[in-house]
Amino acid sequence: MPDLKTEEMVVQMGPQHPATHGVLRLEITTDGEIVRKINPHIGYLHRCFEKHCEELNYHQIIPFVDRCDYLAAMNNEHGYVMAVEKLLDIEIPERVEYIRVIMSELNRIASHLVALGTYGLDIGAITPFLFTFRDREKILDLFEMTSGARLLYNYIWIGGVAFDLPNGFVEKCFEFIDYFLPKLKEYDDLLSYNKIFIKRTAEVAIIPPAVAIEWGITGPNLRASGVDWDLRRDEPYSIYDKFEWDVIVADGRVGVLGDSWSRYYVRVLEMEQSASIVKQALEGLPSDENVKSAVPKKVRPKEGSVFFRSENPRGELGYYIISDGSDIPYRLKMRSPAFCNLSAISDVGEGLLISDLVSLLGSIDIVLGEIDR
């Protein structure tokens, strides 16, 4: 039999493609449906964040930090603010720390909800997406009540927070957690343990722990590979050491460690833990402290540099700030987790089917705003 004439085909996946979550372009070389080579092109959403930071004073950067990872703005603010505070070397009131942790964890839940919903959408299930957005809406209501905005908060300030918690926040937040925890069961029924979903995601696009560490993958994606590492526990910042909670590490209960399903399910379980942290923080919230008492009049750190990492919903968010003594940072570099997570795709994605590539992309939960900055 003569050899079949086969040719590889170059297909442009994106920048306008529903599975690329924004404006990512993957130049994929396919052999039939099998992806042989992936060449990611990023930068379609580049907004010169780092250049902007060299023009703005420390406080004015906060709204820009929000816009990097727009799904987890509170976490981004929290990390940035802590980095600057480390540079300034100031103490902040305990109530502020509690409020920040509550906000960060609520935003982690909100961000994971989006990750879950859109992942379902990538796999083809539409209803879970709307369910998760329905529940996320309630968190956004809490945020709007506190900070005035639903997405880009500018709430956590250097040395404090913009407002104290409004009246009725604590009750509403408890109410939300009581409402939310049973919903996790519903997601499990509808999506997580659906046989088709498992078939699509389990044992697909496996990232072994060594590969994950090599590529600098962090956060839920790293824990899905079985690496027990969480900055909140292992290098406790803020007041995370005061709460009792578990670091979720995938156990490969369906499929194997490091597959898409693990990456998905780590997020589901993490939401439960976050809810528990919020609950503990609400119970231990110190009363009556001025949340703005430590806000400095003028942020003028002395010369020096700091590299500070915090746990974002997508992984470890690092800020490298160099100060030259003025009120404008000399250099601000953001180590965005999704950027590092995505860089592994050309390695991990080779040899997958197109459908599995979509499943991989969705499971590493990228936010293009953060990748491109």
């Binding site: 297909v11 083809g124 299930a125 539409i126 709307l130 699509r200 089917l353 459908s355």
Partner: protein
Amino acid sequence: MDYFIQIVTDLLPGLNGLPQWLVIPSIMFLFGALIFTGIAIYSLIILWFERKIAAHMQDRLGPMEVGGWHGWLQTVADAVKLLLKEDIIPAVADRKLFKLAPYIVFLAAFAVFAALPFSDKIIGSELNIGIFYILSVSSVGVVGILMAGWGSNNKWALFGSMRSVAQFVSYEIPIGLSILVVVMSVGSLSMRDIVMAQDGGIFNWMIWQNAPFNFIAFLILFIAGTAETNRVPFDIPEAESELVAGFHVEYSGMRFSIFFLAEYANMLAVGIIASTLFLGGWQGITGASSAPGIGLIWMLLKGFLIVLVMIWFRWTLPRLRVDQLMYVCWKVLVPISFFNMVGAGIWIGLSS
């Protein structure tokens, strides 16, 4: 058809004046037009239903504005919008294939209706090989899909049509095997005979016959039928998160709406075929009614019910991968339907 000719000639006595060679074609044309409008109206209704059901399953309201009560005119408005939209043909497309493809897809879906028995009397053509005709005609649709994918000159569209062809060809087999079970127990390929064999109320329906065999055959027919109509969880030819929209990614306006119409027509066809074969066709729960209108209503009701379950599927399930789709067909449905057919054959042989 004879019955229909009777009615029409009774209603329009003027037709008798026409030459004989013109009467039959014009009445055929009339019947075709009726079916076409029927499909169009049904599509609008089922589309509205689908939106509302989807919305409520997702804790939403769905369309609420156009036409007043629960936006019942929304789909009509959308249809008008689609028809008025500019029809864009890509510059590098194969224009002839591109233009022709939607009509062929629709033609295949439409031709099936010629042999479907809507009631005792209303049947386009009473073929003695009715079910065989339906099987063969419906597989023409895949040619149209392949033309659409190739003619668009778009790689995603090509992927979609390639997947679609594989899917169509594979799922024909379990459908054929499960239909055979019914044909064996009735002993006829004629749709009318099949319905007549289920006379006498709900317990005589084919689905309950031959112990578990017919029931399994019904399930297989339903699953494979869902796959044939490219519905979730088998919608991989159009998988919007993978292939954007698959074979109809380049279509817009009216041509797109024809694809849409064909999909919904196919859904209704699957519903009607399944209910004819297994659910007693035009006969009610207590048995056939003598009034012709009642039969039609029963038939549409049953077809509708099956379409609703398909909609329910769509808003619940994720999508299979292309190799898993083949797995489900060749390793699950085909063996089961094959053993099911053999088992049914033995059962029929023993019981007769």
